[in-house]
Amino acid sequence: MEVESIRIVEDEIIEEFAHLEGWMDKYNYIIDMGKNVPVIDTKYKTESNLISGCQSKVWLYAEFRDGKVYFSADSEAVITKGLANLLIRIMNNQKPDAIINSDFFFIKKLGLKEHLSPNRSNGLMAMIKQMKLYALVFKTKASQTSGE
């Protein structure tokens, strides 16, 4: 179920991308995205919320409320912020399991990995890994709590 709702947002993004012609428009779209990222509270912009392996600093934070995960992020680089926002749009407001099980279909579909980030410098993969990690932690905690 949740995976499906993820797929819906992914389709939305794929649809949006489909209208863009050429890489410049795609980048402009991502840059625009970067302006609307749910910005992380400054108090969470800590060393421990930094994602390593990126050329620009990226902070990612997650909260767990009512069984769902809420992300916020920031980065020095706008493109990175845009990518973060794409991910957040999809993963926000989801249950941990949905995040853990997502195959991030849209990344492949959009050719984002090849087109935008053949290597680790923009941290797309690192961000995804971190999101899944958060989800896993929340899930584990939740099951412990319910187990009590």
Binding site: Q55, S117, P118, N119, S121, N122
Partner: protein, 407 residues
């Protein structure tokens, strides 16, 4: 490719068409370095003609492309030796570099006054001198597992040396001077009973045997690309994550650091922690191409072919009066070392060379084992996948010729 078609293999190695003194090159110095198949040479050319770039830190296309193929190569190497994790594959410049990394990083951390390091009497200088120096500096003791007169590792003597002071056992997989295959699986098992880690110098092992580091359960395994059909300038140090994580970095510089300031520097994660400076991308891609080539032919097939050569050479040379084999281990790979009566190996080698046959003479960077036999050196013929029975016949005829000349 079955049955093994050595002539087809030979076509892949352009150097084998080379003439020496007007004769066909017979290359029997493979333990020193192997020749390169065309696909390895082509990989190098393609890299420099199309993709050359510095890696890891670049945003631009070429750099990202090179980074991807470089890291894919690391993954292939991981798979080839069946390491558990990609980050357990450290890129060095060769076996010597890998072992020096070990002595300086593992050794510095774990070997202290009164401790012991075990090597065998068969070691190449590269797996002897670094430990000798480390022990000298740390006031530790280097213990040597002796060999018998066949050049075989004496397992019982080895077991006697193991104790709570032993911090590392480090032995060669295959001896480069005599070809003896050491019983590394048993050596490792025994050491692990005492919780002692084992490093294998695989410079000669990797090219003659299938290596599965998880199955062997070795803690470290080192080898050189250039002895494994790959370009010069690259080596591998496989190490178990748990050890590598704890080990301090060896060389310092770009790539291996995370954050740097004048006050304080933090180091990068594995495997980069051990890879200071611009890596040799060319040679790593070349090593990858060599692996592909070897996998295609099949290490089993290569080993079977080389064994046939080794047995045939032994059988034919044995017929020559006065021949003395140095090292007659039951388990042997790739190498045959011998003397012809009292003829000095240098004299023999000089004449053999004039027949276009490349053999090595001398101590093969393993002086101690020759001291064991009380000889100044040997003539060593060492085999690779492209050698033939005809080449062995040529060698035998030439050795007979040498005999007549000096006697």
């Amino acid at each position: 490719m079955n049955p093994y078609d050595v002539n087809k293999v030979r076509e892949d190695f352009p150097i084998l068409k080379r003439k020496i003194y007007g004769k066909n090159l017979v290359y029997l110095d493979n333990a020193a370095t192997t020749q390169k198949p065309q696909s390895v040479i082509d990989t190098v050319v393609k890299y420099y003609s199309e993709s050359n770039s510095n890696i890891h830190r670049g945003v631009h296309y070429l750099s990202q492309e090179a980074t991807v193929v470089f890291e894919e190569a690391r993954e292939n190497i991981q798979q080839y030796v069946n390491a558990k994790e990609k980050k357990e594959i450290i890129i060095t410049k060769g076996t010597t570099d890998s072992i020096n990394l070990m002595a300086n990083s593992f050794g510095k951390k774990n070997v202290n006054e009164g401790d012991e390091v075990i090597i065998s009497a068969l070691e190449h200088h590269s797996n002897l001198v670094p430990w000798q120096q480390l022990c000298k500096e740390k006031k530790a003791t280097l213990k040597i597992v002796p060999v018998n007169d066949q050049g075989e590792f004496l397992f019982d003597e080895y077991v006697k040396l193991l104790n709570s002071k032993t911090k590392l056992v480090t032995v060669s997989h295959v001896s480069n001077a005599l070809g003896s295959i050491n019983p590394i699986k048993e050596i490792i098992e025994k050491a692990h009973e005492f919780n002692i880690p084992v490093m294998i110098d695989g410079a000669q092992g990797i090219s003659h045997c299938s290596v599965d580091v998880q199955q062997l359960d070795c803690d470290f395994y080192a080898f050189s690309g250039h002895k494994f059909y790959a370009p010069m300038g690259v080596g591998i140090l496989y190490g178990k994550e748990k050890y590598l994580e704890e080990m301090p970095p060896y060389q310092m510089g770009g790539e291996m650091v995370d954050q740097v300031s004048f006050e304080k520097t933090s180091f990068n994660e594995l495997p980069f922690k051990f890879e200071a400076g611009t890596p040799n991308v060319e040679a790593v891609l070349g090593l990858n191409a060599a692996l592909e080539y070897i996998k295609n032919i099949g290490m089993e097939n290569i080993a079977r072919h080389e064994n046939k050569l080794l047995n045939y050479a032994t059988q034919e040379l044995k017929k020559i009066d006065g021949i003395r084999f140095i090292g007659e281990a039951v388990n042997r790979a790739g190498v045959i070392s011998f003397l012809i009566g009292d003829i000095h190996p240098f004299d023999a080698g000089t004449i053999i060379d004039h027949f276009g046959i490349a053999v090595r003479t001398g101590h093969h960077c393993a002086q101690p084992i020759l001291d064991h036999f009380n000889i100044p050196g040997t003539v060593r013929a060492s085999f690779a996948m492209y050698n033939t029975i005809e080449e062995i016949d040529l060698l035998t005829t030439t050795v007979k010729q040498v005999k007549t000349m000096f006697e």
